[in-house]
């Protein structure tokens, strides 16, 4: 049972407080929290459950905004965290983005949403589709209307039908002239290459994202050509379990608009599409660095926006880095970023330079880790293929189906 929710800006200002139960929480708890956050630094953000002297706190940080919830009694911490995440999702969906100004500007909507989503510390209405019907999101038309007419109500008068429906995620009656459904495979590659250049871990975390604009109550069936490669799956509540258990088919009534149908994991991949080979040799107070990047395993499509980032160890005083392709920037906090873009046909991009160590330090004994990011359009690296998508219950024949795939780097790390 959550007792109170605070929204904190990135400077620690309490932008909003919403008391949820009769047991009021004083906002001085935020001061305590912010002091801790300042003294303990970045690692404090990873502590999503904090025991303060008076309350247990749950924190979720999204784009600088801290969502802080307090409780004094035992409750499942993940429930609190998931609820906060959902609040953050809904708010950023409503407001288009999340930042201090946008929350302050729309504080009434934030209040109304919080009130509707949480009742007495328990979740009440959390389905975005229903919320959208109950509380109108701010848009240009409503803004202009409110200025011109002075009528600034954004609360609807009747209860949305979906609250009583057995499929609460779907708006009751939707009508489209063109029925469209788009299926995207979005994959992230996680890989770790250790100091010896051996790949110790390589796996894909993927999502099936669907964007549906369909009339009525459509019933969709999606099947994969090779479902056996999936190591583990998680579904949107609309997916029926039984067909998946027996035939590994996704059968569902989709929500309206964009949603995440399923996430999956494919483990033990053989290789990464690109290689990054860093080499560091240090001697007599300096360290020579050279790094080669190239295509190891051509996925068939162009690999885009390749970037290699690494944090210079604290014992390095200055760095002089040059590359034969792309640009090298040294950002704040000694973060070094080499953006390559696409790999040219004629040469292999390489970066070289020297790092000057602290005085008195003969050679480097700590080594940076290189984080690689890239993007490949049109390919799902896991090899997962969509076989077909069947639609039932569609009144008109005008139907468009679209499929796309995208792979990008997740936690792709190369140690040196």
């Amino acid at each position: 049972m959550l007792q109170c929710i605070f929204l904190l800006s990135d400077s620690g200002e309490v932008m909003l407080e919403k008391q949820l139960t009769g047991h009021r929480v004083d906002r001085s708890i935020c001061d305590w929290f912010w002091n801790q956050a300042i003294t303990q630094g970045d690692s404090f953000k990873a502590l999503s459950v904090i025991a303060s002297p008076t309350h247990y706190l749950f924190q979720v940080v999204r784009e600088g905004i801290t969502f802080l919830a307090c409780t004094q009694v035992e409750m499942p911490p993940l429930m609190g965290i998931e609820l906060l995440c959902r609040v953050a999702d809904v708010l950023s969906d409503y407001l288009g983005e999340l930042n201090e100004d946008v929350i302050k500007d729309n504080f009434i909507i934030v209040y109304e949403l919080l009130d509707e989503m949480i009742d007495n510390g328990f979740p009440l209405t959390t389905e975005p589709n229903i919320l959208r019907e109950m509380i109108a999101p701010p848009n240009i038309v409503s803004k202009v209307l409110s200025v011109v007419t002075g009528n600034n109500s954004n609360v609807i008068d009747t209860l949305p039908g979906a609250t009583a429906s057995s499929i609460p995620w779907r708006t009751a009656d939707t009508k489209y002239a063109n029925n469209e459904v788009y299926v995207d495979l979005v994959e992230e590659l996680d890989a770790i290459i250790n100091r010896d250049g051996v790949m110790v871990k390589c796996e894909i975390c993927g999502e099936v994202q669907v964007n549906s604009h369909l009339t009525g109550l459509p019933d969709l069936t999606l099947s994969f050509a090779n479902p056996s490669i999936l190591d583990d799956v998680r579904f949107h509540p609309c997916v029926r379990f039984r067909p998946w258990e027996s035939h590994q088919i996704l059968s569902f009534v989709p929500p309206d608009g964009q949603f995440k149908l399923m996430s999956y994991r494919v483990k033990k991949l053989k290789s990464t599409p690109i290689y990054v080979k860093p080499q560091l040799t240090s001697d007599a107070g300096t360290c020579r660095i050279s790094m080669l990047v190239g295509i190891r395993n051509d996925p068939g499509k162009t690999i885009d926006s390749i970037t290699v980032q690494f944090q210079l160890p604290p014992c390095i005083l200055s760095a002089d880095l040059t590359s034969n392709h792309g640009t090298v920037d040294i950002l704040a906090n000694k973060i070094c970023s080499w953006s390559i873009g696409r790999i040219p046909k004629d040469k292999a991009p390489s970066l070289s330079g020297t790092l000057v160590l602290e005085t008195g330090l003969e050679r480097l004994h700590v080594f940076p880790t290189f984080q690689v990011s890239f993007k490949i359009m049109g390919v799902a690296l896991s090899g997962l293929q969509i076989d077909k998508l069947d639609l039932k219950n569609i009144p008109s024949n005008r139907l468009y189906k679209g499929f796309r795939a995208l792979t990008r780097a997740g936690e792709f790390e190369v140690r040196s």
Partner: protein, 1102 residues
């Protein structure tokens, strides 16, 4: 129309600076009070009211107090615009507790809205009404919830379910059974969303009433089962939808499923799983394996919860995993592993919680996670806490086969620029080596290589993290050596060799300790000892504190175990070291040296020759034995896990914070299930199995209402039999009944005889005769000696209680009462003037409305302070607030002519260190807000706040017990308020008394004394009587009852307080506090105050 246009123009002009903010509420947030709000609130136009309400909410959001507008806002609750309603509710719920009297004005509107055809309006009205939290209206709310629980709209029913915890939170015992009944109704709802909310309500309202949920569990399981397995239509996702529709609905029902299943099914497997922390859990698995198989209901539960492991919501996955962990057979538990690892990747916020839980699972059953070690490999982007958790998991799941990979990773981590993390990685290597003795050599080599490399760099001063890595490295080596000292002789020699180059004191100290501990090991080490000790003695002076201490220890240890020709050299080294140490700057070192010197006096020989001569020969060995015992005692093998390692339910908050959070309930032990419940359940379950869902509903309601009837009947019976209808009356009876059933017959006879008896003396005589072995005669006599002459047990009382009780008086208690001191000014703020105040029990001579406050002025500074006086800050404000009080509540009849403050006599001068006492008479106007006063001292002006204490708004009202019961019986129903709290003060007293054996005081006496003392020290009351349970078990204070009386200062309305105890003497006692008073608001406030100070453990009030 026109004023609207004006407002629009203003909006436009304001917004013109930032075009994109047009139409948002930005300007309202930025300056909410740039226009006068109250005329807007009174406006006829909804848009004006909305504007004003938004401004008020903006004030609230920014932490300003906007409660002044409460009356005007409440008026708008009757508006027909839903937007206005919503905003009014938001405001109302935020401030209702501050302004309870005005909040009452809105009740009529809510009542009307509850009959509205629009379900949204009904739901909102219910939510607001339940959220207001006023004890007075709780009967109305209860009726409303009951009505809404049968509402046709799902949404309204869901809100009704959510309203139940709010009602329960008011802690009104008389509604408990009604609330439980509604929970029962809602649990049987056919909509999953409602069932989810009802399950949440169940968990917070009455988690112990398994009877209530068992049918609905079967129902939800069945429908979950059928939906998932048989029907293949769109409603297949019915129950699943509930789960994410409101995020955690099913999650909660899962939890309650689990708890009740454990009760019902007497799962031996639960116990065995929870005892995983024991080393030998593998044997237990065997037993549990079979029982898990044989149980059909558990099977159904597991089958229905396993699809939840595919949920998108990490909370649901973790809860389902928890169910499997507790209930499933060993080979089925495996299926939770992959989902758990997968949700770890889902979001950063939940990662920490998931890892904490995995850590517990992995510690209990490393084999589960052993094949998935790759998932715990660490990324640089992880925060330190995450990294540390992953390291710990890795070190506990490493196996002989996977160790080479993990070790390779660890070696990489040591190179990480994050040195804290590198140190943790080194420590993890040590842990692995202890878990896997076969791999110890690999670890040792790696660690030695690390130390050699690290001291080559030699820059510990410049990088502080480096020292940590080294210390952890040596610590790990030490722990590996400890496992098998004989095979690591060469390692010790290497360490000693490196001693010269290692500069970190902690690391040096550890190596020196190793030398002392394993000095006798093998062949080579003893030979090099003298050289090493010489070296240590040489550099003793330049060492750090911990190293010095360790050098003293080690030299003494070596000397004690030395043999042969070395002894002479060693003796000289030791005396040299001790000589140095005795002159050390640090007293710890000097003390240690002195201790060592005295212990070794027999050995060192240079001193203490005379004493030696005096000693008898057989005593000669004594110091030697002592020294050997101290310095060469065997070190106990350390356990792998920390000693205070505790295990809580998976997925609970307590699990993360590692202490039992308030409200945490561990799974009950099997076999605590009441027999009748079990029988009923198995019947229901059998019926369930055969019948389909339709016939089920009717069956179910029958059994449910049946059981409920029984329950409420017993409650009712107890209530109307006793004049005091506190819940403990019922429990008293049941406990005495169960006593009678289970135990010896004489108990019943006693209570019979008590019933028959009319004379108190006879009672106590029979008691003392019959209870000879139950209760020591001495304690009883101590009561009898103090038998009061004031009152006798009235006949009516006796027949009501149906159990014997004795009455005692605590004569000298009043003299021991010391009122609590509050600080008004502390010396830092008051330029050395310290002012404390306490409320005096005397009543004012000027007016009955005034309260006497004793002020103690103390001069803590070095200069004398002159002209100290305390005056009211705003003399004219008094009449205003008095008017206000008149307006709002008629009962607060205040006389305007009474001043707020009767000024105190001025203190002309106060010498340093002197204390001066003054009496101040204050009129608080019955407000519980502090009074702002100004203190003048030496011409300086210090604003102070005098906090009122409602306990002193009353004065003692002496009466006898008959009059008390008579008055009490005239104040039933809504003039009676109950609260419960836990009292712990007496425990300290009891344990304190254990110490001195001279005075054996009776436990009961101590309890009443501490309780009465606490009451009288915190409120101005009159103690009428103390009732004592006689027929009780020796250590059971249940039934003890204290009565206090008082009357309200301003209007002389009597106010009665009864406290009934429950529980064992030596444990925290459950108190049930009852206040009877005509003045409802005052009574409630007094009750809250009493409950608060009783529950608040005081350090000492003597």
């Amino acid at each position: 129309m026109f004023p609207q246009l004006g407002a629009t123009a203003e909006t436009l002009s304001k917004a013109s600076t930032l075009v994109f903010r047009i139409g948002t509420d930005a300007h309202l947030y930025d300056d909410p009070d740039d226009v006068s709000i109250s005329p807007l609130l009174d406006s006829r136009f909804d848009s004006d009211i909305i504007d004003a309400l938004k401004r008020l909410l903006a004030l609230t959001a920014q932490g300003f107090d906007a409660s002044n507008f409460f009356p005007q806002v409440v008026k708008n609750v009757a508006s027909h615009s839903l937007q206005v309603k919503k905003l009014v509710y938001l405001y109302l719920l935020h401030y209702a507790e501050k302004r309870p009297n005005e909040a009452l004005l809105s009740i009529n509107c809510f009542q009307k809205d509850l009959g509205d055809p629009n379900p949204l309006v009904r739901a909102w009205a219910l939510r607001a009404m339940a959220g207001i939290r006023l004890h007075v209206i709780s009967p109305l709310v209860l009726v409303a919830v009951g009505k809404c629980a049968r509402d046709p709209s799902v949404y309204v029913r869901k809100c009704a379910a959510n309203a139940l915890p709010k009602l329960h939170d008011l802690r009104q015992e008389e509604h408990a059974s009604a609330i439980e009944e509604i929970v029962g109704i809602l649990l049987n709802d056919h909509s999953p969303g409602v069932v989810g909310a009802a399950a949440a309500a169940f968990a917070s309202v009455c988690p112990t009433r398994q009877g209530l949920v068992k049918e609905s569990i079967m129902f939800s399981l069945h429908c979950a089962g059928s939906f998932h397995s048989e029907k293949d239509s769109s409603d297949a996702n019915f129950s699943l939808g509930g789960q994410t529709g409101d995020i955690d609905g099913t999650y909660y029902s899962e939890l309650s499923n689990m708890v009740s299943m454990c009760y019902v099914e007497r799962p031996d497997e639960y116990l065995s799983r929870s005892s995983y922390t024991n080393r030998d859990f593998f044997e237990l698995n065997g037993a549990q394996f079979t029982s898990g198989k044989s149980n059909d209901d558990v099977k159904i539960l597991l089958r229905c919860t396993s699809p939840l492991l595919w949920s998108n919501n990490s909370a649901v996955v973790l809860a389902a995993a928890g169910v499997h962990w507790i209930m499933a057979a060993i080979e089925d538990v495996k299926r939770i592993v992959k989902p758990l690892l997968f949700i770890m990747r889902s979001s950063n916020a939940s990662k920490y919680v998931v890892l904490c839980n995995i850590q517990v699972f992995a510690k209990a059953m490393p084999s589960l996670f052993a094949p998935y070690y790759e998932d715990f490999f660490i990324c640089t982007s992880d925060a330190y806490e995450i990294k540390a958790l992953k390291l710990e998991i890795l070190s506990s799941i490493a196996t002989d086969s996977s160790f080479s990979f993990i070790f390779k990773e660890f070696q990489d981590y040591i190179r990480s620029p994050d040195r804290r993390f590198a140190a943790a990685a080194v420590a993890a290597i040590g842990l692995c080596a202890q878990r896997l003795p076969k791999m110890a050599n690999t670890c040792m080599e790696g660690l030695l290589a690390l130390i050699r490399q690290d001291f080559l760099t030699n820059d510990f001063e410049s990088v502080d993290g480096e020292a940590g890595v080294l210390v952890h490295g040596i610590m790990s080596i030490k722990s590996i050596i400890k496992e098998e000292p004989t095979s690591h002789e060469k390692v010790i020699i290497q360490l000693v060799r490196s001693l010269d180059s290692i500069k970190v004191p902690a690391a040096r100290a550890m190596i020196i300790w190793i030398v002392g501990e394993y000095g006798t090991l093998g062949e080579i080490i003893p030979r090099m000892l003298t050289t090493v000790l010489k070296y240590l003695a040489l550099c003793f002076a330049s060492e750090a504190l911990e190293t010095k201490l360790q050098i003293i220890n080690t030299t003494v240890k070596v000397l004690l175990s030395a043999k042969g020709e070395d002894v002479w050299t060693l003796k000289r080294i030791v005396s040299y070291v001790l000589e140095l140490a005795l002159c050390d700057l640090n007293y710890d070192v000097r003390d240690r040296a002195r201790l060592a010197e005295n212990l070794l006096s027999w050995n060192l020989g240079s001193r203490g020759l005379e004493e030696e001569a005096d000693c008898l020969p057989q005593h000669k060995d004594l110091p030697r034995l002592l020294a050997e015992h101290i310095f060469q005692g065997q070190t106990k093998p350390l356990s792998l896990e920390p000693i205070n390692y505790r295990v809580y339910l998976p997925g609970s908050l307590s699990q993360i914070v590692l202490h039992a959070a308030p409200g945490y309930e561990p799974l009950p032990k099997p076999c605590t299930l009441p027999c009748d419940d079990f029988g009923q359940f198995s019947n229901a379950a059998l019926r369930e199995g055969g019948s389909n869902n339709d016939s089920y509903a009717t069956d179910n309601s029958d059994t449910l209402s049946g059981s409920l009837d029984e329950e409420s009947a017993s409650d009712y019976g107890s209530r109307h039999s006793a004049a005091d209808s506190s819940g403990t009356g019922g429990s008293d009876e049941t406990s005495s009944a169960s006593d009678a059933d289970n135990k010896v017959d004489p108990l019943i006879q006693i209570s019979d005889s008590v019933d028959a008896c009319e004379n108190q003396n006879v009672i106590s005589q029979t008691d003392s005769a019959d209870l000879g072995d139950l209760m020591s005669k001495k304690t009883l006599e101590s009561w009898l000696d103090e038998q009061p002459g004031i009152s006798d047990l009235s006949l009516s009382e006796q027949s009501q209680l149906r159990r014997s009780s004795a009455r005692i008086s605590i004569g000298n208690i009043v003299s021991r009462v010391k009122p609590k001191m509050h600080t008004l000014v502390d010396p830092t703020n008051g330029d050395g003037l310290k002012v404390v105040y306490s409320f005096s029990s005397e009543t004012s001579t000027v007016s009955p409305l005034l309260i006497c406050v004793e002020l103690f002025f103390e001069n803590c500074s070095t200069q004398s302070i002159s002209e100290v006086t305390l005056v009211d800050e705003e003399p004219n404000k008094a009449s205003v607030s008095a008017d206000l009080a008149l307006d709002t509540t008629e009962s607060f009849i205040t006389k305007n002519d009474v001043p707020t403050l009767v000024p105190m006599e001025e203190i002309t001068s106060l010498e340093p260190g002197k204390t001066c006492k003054r009496i101040l008479q204050v009129h608080f106007h019955h407000h519980l807000l502090p009074l702002k006063l100004t203190l003048y001292s030496s011409g300086k002006r210090i604003p102070v706040k005098l906090w009122p204490d409602i306990g002193y708004f009353v004065k003692p009202f002496p009466m006898d017990i008959e009059f008390f019961t008579d008055t009490e019986s005239h104040l039933p129903g809504m003039f009676e308020y109950n609260r419960r709290c836990i009292f712990t003060d007496h425990i300290g007293e009891l344990t304190k008394d254990k110490g001195d054996s001279l005075i054996i005081k009776d436990k009961f006496l101590i309890i009443c004394e501490s309780l009465a003392l606490k009451m009288l020290s915190n409120a101005n009351l009159f103690l009428i009587s103390v009732d004592m349970p006689v027929a009780a078990v020796l250590d059971d204070a249940t039934g003890m009852r204290l009565r206090f009386s008082s009357e309200i200062l301003s209007n002389s309305i009597p106010c009665l307080i009864t406290i009934t105890l429950e529980g064992k003497c030596s444990e925290p006692l459950n108190l049930s506090i009852k206040v009877n008073c005509e003045e409802t608001v005052f009574g409630l406030n007094l009750l809250n105050r009493v409950a608060n100070f009783l529950a608040d453990p005081s350090v000492s009030h003597l």
